[in-house]
């Protein structure tokens, strides 16, 4: 069970208070009507499933209700950092550098 630091509450809390909400940094296209079906399909359904560093959106559901990002190693489950929505991760996978 994860021990997660909420960047809004500024405290470590148990995983039970949080929900995972999928991959981070999936921006809604600014002009959806201009998207092709393929582009819209990519936005809706296609997600990375990396082995190693991954950026995930979580919400402090039973706490402050704020969404924030977690950089997590999907192999070791180590949480490398947490950062607020709108911020950029400081830890990224090697191939992404």
């Amino acid at each position: 069970m994860f021990h997660i630091y909420c960047p809004h509450c500024c405290e470590y809390r148990e995983e039970e208070e949080f929900h995972a909400a999928g991959q981070s940094h999936i921006a809604r296209p600014l002009d959806p009507d201009a998207c092709t079906d393929k582009e819209w399909g990519e936005y809706m359904y296609f997600r990375a499933n990396p082995r190693g560093i991954h950026h995930e959106l979580w919400v402090h559901a039973a706490g402050c209700r704020k969404f924030f990002n977690i950089t997590r190693n999907t192999q070791t489950y180590e949480i490398k950092e947490v950062y607020k929505v709108g911020e950029k991760p400081s830890v990224v996978a090697d191939e992404a550098k």
Binding site: M1, A21, D37, W40, F67, T76, I79
Partner: protein
């Protein structure tokens, strides 16, 4: 000694940590025995000379106790004196003896002494190779259930109680600086160091007493018996407020981020049932800043012919039974070893006054302190040899000993036979690395100690003592201090001085890498050489698996079942890997290791469930009027966590009679529904209106204050996921309602879009579901009823359909919404929840003259279905967009912002012809009620499988219309009005229906516009 030990034939006259003044009577397999306080069930059985404690999994061979701790593979017991207190899969070696304990073997039929299955094993030995179950029981598939029950009975898996467990189980959350697992020399020393330095410490040990290996040996610390040092340390530790000591507590799981679970046996170690009010078991959920694993090591038995005959044991277990429990489990011992350490078993046996027949050492020239001690006692040592086979069936009667070559893989000389009743063996020690593996760390092979040690981890974890291969007490003690010091410095705590106790100087010669003792015959023809006792995996089986092409140890494991079940390979895994490695002509590290997973030993469901059972299993949500519903005989249904009134039967009414009455009364006069469970979200901010326009499919820009509007909410895929009415309370203030079950999801949906996509919008959301009681009065007399409770003008002129007004109702401030889910004139009265019951009762006081009738969710469903109103989640399933529902009127494609769902519902598949569309279904036989879920076909005579065109989503008997009403999906249904669709049912009937508008009643809406 004056006690009557006559029945305890193997009990020594003195010694052990048992209390001989407290004899205890217990029952095993229906027979009574005596033991002493301080015994385990295993030591008491051995004291009584009970050799056979079970039958083996596959071959049904008689089995005896092999070990003295958690690694025991055979003595798996069913414990419990009553049906309700049954506990399966308890290791006899871990169960403290108590007065009145009732235990039985979990396998063996009709009993362990005379086992009919054994015949199958004897005859079937050759017929049951590895993969036997896969090969034999695969086909025909339909027979599997028959095979399974037979296999389960034969396999001797324990059984769950058939009655409710009367005991209380508990959970506790703990936090600490340092969690120390294991209270042997390393763990105790680490705890002492950390405690003296002011750290918050939890130290847990599976045994009933702290001390670990020190309790089973004759070692001296500071010139005194080691047990005295243990006593002093335990006493000092118990004086610290911040030290929690947990004996009888198994750390079973090491989870992410230093979260560990500890199963503490509170009363089940001394009673069948917890004394009144006490907790039987407690699960500690620990979040530790640092973890010290001081879990020690398990001695590895050697693999030789018939090594499972009762009387074959692990060397260290022999010492433990003698030193700790005062039990010598036999008369004549043969010890086989590849190392010096195991000599202690023979020394203890000899010193207990029993006969050591011989020590058989695989090494040519053993030298060291213990070897010398054996020679001094005149014990015969046969060097360069091995026990290739044990003799006997229900108990060892003798052994065959033969000289081995230097590599230990071939017999090179004549066999000597010797009589003996006990064979103790040692192939060295395997560190207990299980917990370190739970978080994914791969163990690392260490050639020096011939075992795996914990691999690298990112957890804040330290290891000390035998788990690292530091097998001597001196090493364990100093590693204990070291890891505590490391943790303290990481925690920023200053370390206090701790003196290491003086240990005896012991010199040990080099051990030999030996796992599998060769026989004169090839392995496949030799007497069975067991690697994994619990799963009946033999050396020949592993060799066969390798010959059949299994190269990965993970596959060999799955094929042979090695390390499966409750055993988790504690004794056998390394021997198995060594045999596979040799077959594959590679090293053990090249062969790899399997990963151990939680839990280390079986955990009871009671401990896992804790108090989360019965009424506390899941919270139940009640409305403010719940007590009234109960009082008036309501039947309830679960909607999410809510208990909602379903219907209110009167007298002997059937459900249908009650529904008919409720439906007729509502449309004829007035009915009332408790709608408090509807999700309510308060939305405020200057951009609230803009936000609504983005999340709903219809327009919100011009909704004036005081008005309500129905809206559909879709996902980005364009599919409907919730609906509800939202009202404009003030220019920047709205109240959104959602389905009862969808409230939390909708709030989260609004939040994620606001926080991650449109943070620039100034808008705030708050759940106010529980703040309001909502009661809907519906029917032609609802206005007259409301007028009796308010001075406000609720006439059509002042309060039109889809208006809401603030007013006083029954003396209480209320928001009243003129919205309708029944198609009748309706008023939805919202008051502060605390006033809910008051207003509800006031309505009934004044409602008598109108025959005010309470109705529940079922009548609500019928009334709305008569009007063709959908229920999101019943008439939608995540695959239908508003156009499929015939609700294009609720979608505004002209809105400037591309609302959620707009792009999705224009995808190729969403705009194709012949999509399933929601239509009304009018059965040709008006009395026939379609079952919900029934699949429609256009041609009932078509060959099976018939092409299906869609299913029925809502279907009811309508008392108002005196016929059935239904809605469902039909491919291209909106263009098929008047056409027929058929519903072939499982019972052979075919119901024919006409496709029609879903609005069965009052299509012009005249009833609500009054």
């Amino acid at each position: 000694m004056t006690q009557d030990l006559s029945k305890q034939s193997n009990r020594l006259q003195e010694g052990g940590r048992i209390d001989r003044s407290k004899p205890l009577t217990f029952t095993y397999n229906g027979k009574q025995y005596k033991g002493f306080d301080g015994d385990t069930l295993a030591s008491a059985l051995l004291a009584n000379g009970v050799d056979i404690i079970g039958r083996s999994f596959k071959y049904s061979r008689p089995r005896g106790i092999v070990a003295a701790g958690a690694e025991e593979p055979n003595a798996i017991m069913q414990i419990g004196s009553t049906e309700a207190t049954q506990i399966p899969n308890v290791r006899a070696t871990q169960q403290s003896l108590y007065a009145g304990l009732v235990a039985s073997s979990t396998n063996g039929w009709p009993n362990v002494e005379m086992d009919l299955m054994g015949l199958v094993g004897k005859i079937g030995g050759k017929m049951m190779p590895p993969g036997f179950y896969y090969k034999t029981f695969m086909y025909p598939k339909s027979m599997w259930e028959t095979y399974e029950s037979y296999i389960r009975k034969a396999a001797g898996l324990g059984r769950a109680p058939k009655e409710n467990d009367p005991d209380i189980y508990d959970k506790m959350n703990q936090h600490c600086d340092l969690l120390i697992v294991g209270a042997g020399p390393a763990g105790l020393m680490a705890a002492l160091t950390a405690a003296r330095s002011g750290a918050r410490v939890i130290i847990a040990d599976e045994q009933s007493e702290f001390g670990g290996s020190l309790l089973s040996s004759k070692e001296m610390l500071n010139g005194k018996p080691a047990a005295e040092w243990v006593k002093d340390v335990v006493q000092e530790l118990s004086g610290f407020d911040d030290v929690l000591m947990l004996p009888n507590s198994q750390v079973n799981g090491y989870h992410d981020h230093n979260f560990l679970t500890i199963q503490q046996h509170c009363t089940d170690q001394f009673a069948d049932r917890a004394p009144n009010g006490q907790i039987a078991q407690r699960l500690h959920r620990v979040r530790a800043k640092w973890v010290v694993l001081a879990t020690g090591a398990h001695e590895r038995p050697l693999v030789y012919g018939n090594n499972d005959v009762p009387g074959c044991m692990v060397a260290n277990a022999v010492s433990t039974y003698i030193n700790r429990y005062g039990v010598a489990p036999g008369k004549d011992l043969v010890l086989m070893t590849s190392n010096d350490n195991a000599y202690r078993a023979a020394l203890d046996w000899h010193d207990a006054g029993r006969n050591v027949v011989a020590i058989v050492d695989s090494r040519k020239n053993p030298q060291g302190t213990f070897v010398d001690a054996a020679r001094d006692r005149g014990i015969s040592i046969i060097v360069g040899s091995g026990v290739i086979e044990a003799h006997g069936s229900k108990r060892v009667s003798g052994v065959s000993i033969a000289p081995l070559n230097d590599a230990g893989d071939a017999v090179v000389g004549p066999i000597i036979k010797m009589a003996a009743d006990t064979v103790a063996t040692s192939g060295g020690w395997s560190p207990v690395i299980h917990l370190s593996c739970h978080t994914g760390a791969r163990p690392v092979w260490n050639d020096e100690i011939l075992g795996f040690t914990p691999g690298a981890t990112y957890q804040k974890q330290l290891t000390a003592g035998a788990i690292n291969g530091a097998f001597s007490t001196a090493q364990a003690l100093s590693e204990g201090v070291k890891v505590a010091s490391d943790a303290l410095s990481q925690l920023g705590l200053a370390k206090s001085d701790v003196a290491l106790p003086e240990t005896e100087v012991v010199e040990e010669g080099k051990a030999m890498a030996l796992f599998h003792i060769p026989h004169t015959k090839p392995t496949s023809k030799a007497p069975k050489q067991f690697v994994d006792y619990q799963n009946d995996v033999t050396a020949a089986g592993i060799e066969l698996a390798c010959r059949e092409g299994f190269e990965s140890i993970e596959h060999v494991k799955r094929y042979t079942a090695m390390g499966f079940g409750t055993d988790q390979g504690k004794l056998g895994n390394i021997n198995g890997m060594a045999i596979a490695a040799k077959m594959l002509n590679q090293t053990i590290p090249q062969t790899g290791t399997t990963i151990f997973r939680p839990n280390y030993t079986p955990v009871t469901f009671g401990a896992i469930a804790g108090r989360d059972c019965g009424e506390l299993f899941d919270p139940e949500r009640y409305t403010a009027m719940h007590a009234w519903h109960v009082e008036h005989g309501a039947k309830f249904e679960d909607v999410g966590q809510w208990k909602r009134a379903w219907y209110y039967p009167k007298g002997n009414e059937t459900m249908q009679q009650a529904l008919d009455r409720e439906c007729l009364a509502t449309r004829k006069s007035v009915g009332i529904l408790d709608a408090s469970t509807l999700g309510k979200i308060d939305i405020q901010g200057k951009d609230a209106r803009e936000f609504l326009g983005r999340v709903y499919t219809n327009a919100w820009a011009k909704l004036p204050v005081g008005k309500c509007r129905y809206g559909l909410m879709c996902g980005e895929d364009g599919m409907v996921f919730d609906d509800g009415v939202t009202s404009c309370l003030a220019e920047n203030h709205f109240l959104m309602t959602t389905t009862s079950g969808g409230a939390a999801r909708v709030l989260s949906w609004l939040e994620i879009y606001h926080q991650t996509e449109w943070p620039e919008l100034e808008v705030y959301f708050n759940s106010v579901t529980d703040h309001w009681s909502t009661m809907t009065i519906s029917g032609p007399n609802s206005r007259k009823l409301l007028e009796k409770l308010t001075d406000y003008d609720v006439s059509k002129e002042n309060m039109a359909f889809m208006d809401w007004k603030p007013m006083t109702v029954a003396g209480v401030p209320a928001r009243v919404f003129r919205i309708s889910f029944t198609g009748e004139l309706s008023f939805e009265i919202n008051v502060q929840a605390n006033y809910g019951l008051h207003v509800w009762k006031a309505l009934f006081e004044h409602g008598e003259e109108f025959n005010l009738t309470p109705y529940g969710t079922e009548t609500m469903h019928i009334l709305r279905a008569e009007k063709g109103f959908i229920i999101a989640g019943q008439d939608t399933d995540g695959s239908v967009h508003p156009f499929d529902l015939g609700m294009s009127w609720a979608v505004s494609m002209q809105k400037p912002f591309s609302f959620i769902g707009k792009r999705g519902m224009q995808r190729e598949d969403c705009v194709r012809e012949n999509r399933k569309q929601l239509v009304g279904l009018k059965t040709i036989d008006p009395k026939a009620v379609l079952p919900e879920g029934a699949q429609g076909v256009l041609d009932p005579k078509a060959p099976v499988p018939m092409p299906m065109v869609g299913h029925v989503t809502s279907s009811y008997w309508s008392a108002n219309l005196n016929r059935s009403v239904a809605m469902g999906f039909v491919k291209g249904g909106l263009n098929k009005m008047g056409e027929r669709v058929f519903y072939p049912l499982a019972d052979g009937r075919v119901i024919e229906a006409e496709i029609c508008s879903p609005v069965f009643l009052d299509p012009k809406g005249e009833r609500q516009n009054v």
